[in-house]
Amino acid sequence: MMGFSANRLFCLVILLMVVPVAASGAPVIRSLSTAEPGAGEVFDVSLSIEGVALGGVVETLPAGYAFAGTDHPDDRVLVRGQQVAFAVMNDTRITYSVRAPAAGSGDITGQWEDFLGESDGQVGAAHVAVDGIETATESRGDNPPAQEAASPFAALAAVAALFFAGRGGRR
């Protein structure tokens, strides 16, 4: 009984941490075509942008990962080392490609600014690992994962965990 309550409490805490975040309306949300690319594989990163008419996003890739192109107009993209800047001009989605190294893991981090709305913040970190293998190589990104970028998957996972914890209790 005690075990059940502890599990349930744990899941509830996770849920409380995740759900408000997922609903907080961060203007820029990142999603990956895969978080576990194969060695040398090119995968897609999509930035979903809401409510930023004129602004910018700067993405920082983990060491070894390389920017490999984008559908964003050339004159609105700037690459410098592991960083890529996008000028946002009424865009709702920007997709770019990243080539994975032979091995390595780390976080893709980002920052956004809304020039007209005069606000700014971080795009939540997204973890990538070649073939799902964690390495000691540190991410190039310096920023901790932003709360607001908790993925819908995380929220779903927390709900599922709560559900299963509840089922376990009834047995």
């Binding site: 008419a53 004129l54 602004g55 910018g56 700067v58 107009p73 004159d75 609105r76 993209v77 700037l78 410098r80 080392g81 960083q83 800047a85 000028a87 946002v88 001009m89 920052q111 600014e113 020039f115 007209l116 005069e118």
Partner: protein
């Protein structure tokens, strides 16, 4: 070194270090300097800024620059905006207003009506600073004195991009402030508006709305203001001169009235009143007490509110206005005046008659002068809508403030 010289030197140093480009330097990001910020120039400017801010690049655009460029690109179609202020001077705006000093509470109030971000007001005049109930957001802002005694050092230290002065009153003092600002801060934008005159206020609302790029809000407010003033004008149109209500309007000071050149007379006449003392040679002539009795006004209006002492937004104090009225009724010989006999002696606070809220006070005058013609006019409702819908302040007229009595 003499402390004053040291202060002056410090000031010069502060002015010599450009915190950001001058508002008169052109549109930020306009790379070819042709006066138009194209989409391509804006995109390039955005990347230059992001590079410098996050990627170790060496671009010169700072955050205010790119925000201003975005504003000009999105709101002004990439072009500078030309406006003509109430002195008739054309001013070219290359950037939006970001750091504003106002020496005019009326202009500040109009900016607030138009939804301007009050965070961008960096300093206000001393009278505005005193009105902490009406301008609660200005309590902590810098106080730059009055147009007659401006604290120019403080103004310059605040590095405003825009300073707002009066257009047609106290012109010598305002001209002097403008000259000193333009001499010490080339490119600073000095805008001059009155925002208290019925004849020009509608145009000023639209001009200021254009400056802050709130055209829809400007039209809404101009329409609200204009509908009240038009209703008053229409309601008094066609009244023969000899049938107009005779009004004795008394200024703050006893036996001091208003002549034709005074703003209060303009509002009295707009409301259909006939001022027997309009021919006075000064703006606020002192009248012989006997002459008032001889004129036999049908309505007496007494102005309250000198020095923020009584009523208005400063406090709910109907007893104070009642005391002012009672003192009038007790004046020698006044029992013979028609206005006294008919119970048509009113007290009105200058908060709603002298400044940007003159339309509210004028509506009260019209209703007092012609109760039948203006039976459907509700100045109290107009006032509340103004405060709630345009000023955006939490002020309930049912329990706060005292503006008219009875």
């Amino acid at each position: 070194m003499n402390p004053r010289h040291l202060l002056a030197l410090l000031l010069l140093l502060l002015l010599a270090v450009p915190a950001s480009a001058s508002p008169g330097d052109g549109i930020p990001g306009d790379a070819d300097g042709d006066g138009v910020l194209t989409r391509a120039e804006y995109a390039s400017a955005a990347l230059t800024y992001l590079d410098a801010a996050y990627m170790g690049g060496a671009g010169e655009l700072d955050r205010d620059d790119i925000r201003d460029a975005a504003w000009v690109s999105a709101r002004w179609d990439g072009k500078p905006r030309e406006i003509t202020d109430s002195t008739g001077r054309t001013v070219t705006l290359y950037r939006p207003l970001r750091r504003v000093v106002t020496f005019s509470g009326e202009s500040l109030e109009t900016l607030r009506s138009l939804g301007f971000d009050m965070e961008k007001i960096v300093a206000v005049d001393k009278y505005t600073a005193e009105k902490s109930t009406f301008f609660p957001e200005c309590r902590e802002k810098a106080n730059v004195g009055s147009i007659w005694s401006p604290d120019m050092e403080k103004v310059l230290i605040l590095r405003p991009d825009t300073v707002i002065l009066y257009a047609t009153i106290s012109t010598a003092a305002c001209d002097d402030i403008q000259r000193r600002l333009e001499a010490s801060s080339p490119g600073i934008r000095v805008l001059r508006f009155d925002c208290f005159k019925p004849a020009t206020y509608t145009g000023e609302i639209r001009t200021i709305a254009s400056i802050v790029d709130e055209p829809e809000r400007g039209e809404e407010f101009a329409s609200f203001y204009g509908s009240t003033m038009d209703r008053i004008r229409e309601g008094t149109a066609g009244i023969p001169d000899d049938e107009k209500t005779r009004v004795y309007f008394e200024y703050w000071f006893d036996y001091t009235t208003v002549a034709a050149s005074a703003g209060y007379n303009e509002k009295t006449e707009l409301a259909g009143g006939k001022n027997p003392f309009a021919t006075g040679t000064t703006e606020y002539p002192v009248v012989d007490p006997e002459a008032i009795i001889v004129a036999d006004p049908q309505v007496v209006v007494k102005l309250a509110g000198q020095g923020l002492a009584v009523g208005g937004y400063g406090g709910h104090d109907p007893e104070a206005l009642d005391a002012i009225r009672s003192a009038l009724l007790d004046r020698p010989g006044w029992s013979r005046i028609s206005a006294v006999k008919d119970g048509r002696v009113h007290v009105i606070h200058s908060d709603i008659l002298g400044g940007a809220q003159h339309f509210i006070g004028t509506a009260y005058l019209a209703k007092w002068f012609y109760p039948d013609r203006f039976a459907d006019l509700d100045p109290h409702a107009i006032h509340q809508r103004y405060l709630t819908g345009f000023q955006g302040i939490d002020f309930d007229l049912a329990s706060q403030g005292t503006f008219v009595y009875p």
